[in-house]
């Protein structure tokens, strides 16, 4: 894994007042993204707008595609052509992307997709918030695969996590997702962009051997195969079919196990290295509130209230939602009185928590249908109830 400094050309160093959508675009440009293909959809359109304005000045390409499935196809092509690439969307567009997200996973193509979530299902609430695609991002395409998904809680984190997302996607050759939401995407706050030399990027793992010896799916010691730039003279093949190390179709159970197991294990076995959590006052906690994205900010207000009332409550903010931090939750389940999980959906990540807790403690879900954030009071009441 070779680390390099960011190219100053893409880095808008300084303090800005930006919304989360704009910050996503700035994060991507700072991370060296030089290709964007997408189809505008509220509430993610501002990211596309910003890209279209900014990317020509850094020598990149912006394409408005005919739809979202084509956007992912274009990204895959750009990445195999040697670029770092990104797209943004929201619920309906995300659904359309699913087939080619599977293709990107199977082809082990590093790319970044931001979903600025809005209320669903279907066209739902175009201009209002939701956190209802949290399971879709993990399970939306068919077959077994793993992805990485991060959840920003502010415009600043939209910038920061975008850089992390590009790095993770390159390290593990996997599509990486930023699961923002309308509230974070559309809110304006201060965003500090550091100087280019303070931004550390992971360089793609380029193959340096003889051109006729390249094997696009031969795992290296760290499990991750090398990449090449299409058109540089290497002979290679890549496909959505189950394949061998050469990338040629190998359609039997034996290769299926090697191929799919690799897609899953390269993430699961590195989960500890990937997962980022923000924990607060966990050590003496009786109750733990687990939340992510905008909900974690609202949660903090409820937790302050609960602590004032003398309740021993800790918090875990899931910066990484996938892979899910099951080891940590399992560990805590043994000693915690109850878990509280607020999220803007009718029960998604709470199921993962329940799975990890294995019945050792009650898991209290605070659902919200979308369109707005939780009332902190509602979360406070649940904490109080759980502490009894």
């Amino acid at each position: 894994m070779k680390k390099v400094k960011a190219d100053p050309k893409g880095v808008l160093t300084g303090a800005h007042y930006l919304d989360g959508d704009y910050a996503l675009a700035e994060g991507a440009l700072a991370a060296g993204c030089r290709f964007f293909a997408g189809y505008p959809i509220t509430p993610s359109t501002e990211t596309a707008e910003r890209f279209s304005e900014r990317i020509p000045s850094v020598g990149g390409v912006f394409i408005q595609m005919e739809d979202e499935i084509a956007s992912i196809a274009a990204l895959i092509g750009a990445v195999w052509g040697g670029k770092k690439a990104m797209t943004v969307t929201s619920g309906p567009g995300f659904s359309l992307m699913m087939e080619n997200i599977g293709l990107a996973c199977m082809m082990e193509t590093p790319l970044v997709i931001a979903n600025v979530q809005r209320g669903g299902p279907s066209t739902g609430l175009p201009t209002l918030t939701g956190q209802q695609d949290m399971m879709q991002v993990k399970w939306g395409s068919h077959g077994d695969y793993e992805i990485i998904a991060l959840c920003p809680d502010s415009p600043q984190e939209c910038f920061d996590l975008c850089i992390d997302a590009f790095n993770l996607s390159e390290i593990y050759r996997v599509p990486t997702f930023i699961m923002a939401d309308e509230c974070v995407g559309h809110m304006h706050e201060k965003v500090v962009i550091p100087p280019a030399e303070e931004i550390e990027l992971v360089e793609r793992k380029w193959f340096k051997g003889p051109k006729d010896k390249y094997l696009p799916y031969k795992p290296d010691k760290d499990m991750i195969p090398f990449m090449v730039k299409a058109g540089d003279g290497h002979r290679f093949h890549t496909t959505g079919l189950t394949h061998d190390e050469r990338g040629y179709p190998a359609l039997n159970a034996e290769f299926q196990e090697v191929c799919v197991r690799h897609l899953v294990e390269k993430i699961r076995m590195n989960a500890d290295k990937i997962i980022k959590l923000e924990e607060d006052e966990i050590d003496n906690a009786e109750i733990i509130v687990i939340s992510y994205g905008i909900t974690s900010r609202v949660t903090t207000r409820a937790v302050q209230q609960a602590r004032k009332a003398g309740i021993k409550v800790g918090t875990i903010r899931l910066i990484t939602v996938w892979p899910f931090p099951e080891k940590r939750i399992k560990e805590l389940a043994k000693k915690i009185k109850a878990f509280v999980v607020p999220e803007i959906n009718y029960g998604q990540i709470v199921r993962e928590v329940e799975r990890c807790v294995e019945g050792q403690a009650p898991v209290i879900h605070i659902p919200h249908c979308g369109g707005w954030v939780h009332d902190p009071d509602e979360i406070f009441k649940a904490i109080k109830e759980a502490s009894k």
Binding site: P43, C183, H186, M187, H188, R297
Partner: protein
Amino acid sequence: MSEIRFSGFGGQGIIRCGLIAGKALSLFDNKQATMTQSFGPEARGSACSSQLVVSDDRVLYPYISAPEILISMSQEAYEKYEPELRDDGILLIDKDLVKSKPSRGKIKTYSVPSTRFAEELGNRIIANLVMLGFFTAITRIVSPEAMKKALPGLVPGRFLELNKKAFDKGYEYGKKILTEEKKPKKK
């Protein structure tokens, strides 16, 4: 912590007001200001609003619930948002565009002919800057220096000076009103 709502009709630069004040507070006045805005059909031509939550610490709840400052530049927006203004809040209105009801509770109402002033300066499009200057003088929640520093990038470069002039006009008018308010009333 303060909650502020700028309101008017789409096209008056209401969102821009939130952006300028939010940027001024966050980047130049050492505060944390979170700005959200109304999206959807209501933002296109009819009542439109932008909201600011201002705090010394991190803003946790991003939306406003009971603002202490309401700025209304249209009758429709005034009628829509006035009921949520706190009983001890401050109401700022455009003198010619908003006809206010008798104020309730301890609400203090201040009015400025922002659109008329902007027309006198040559362009009604800068009425929002007159209002921002007035808002800065009356509420003192943000410094005029920070507001002016926030303008580049948020108003077109070639109109920067005109926008500053509009801001000053509103600011001076606001200061004058405050001074008169302090003077003992003649019997």
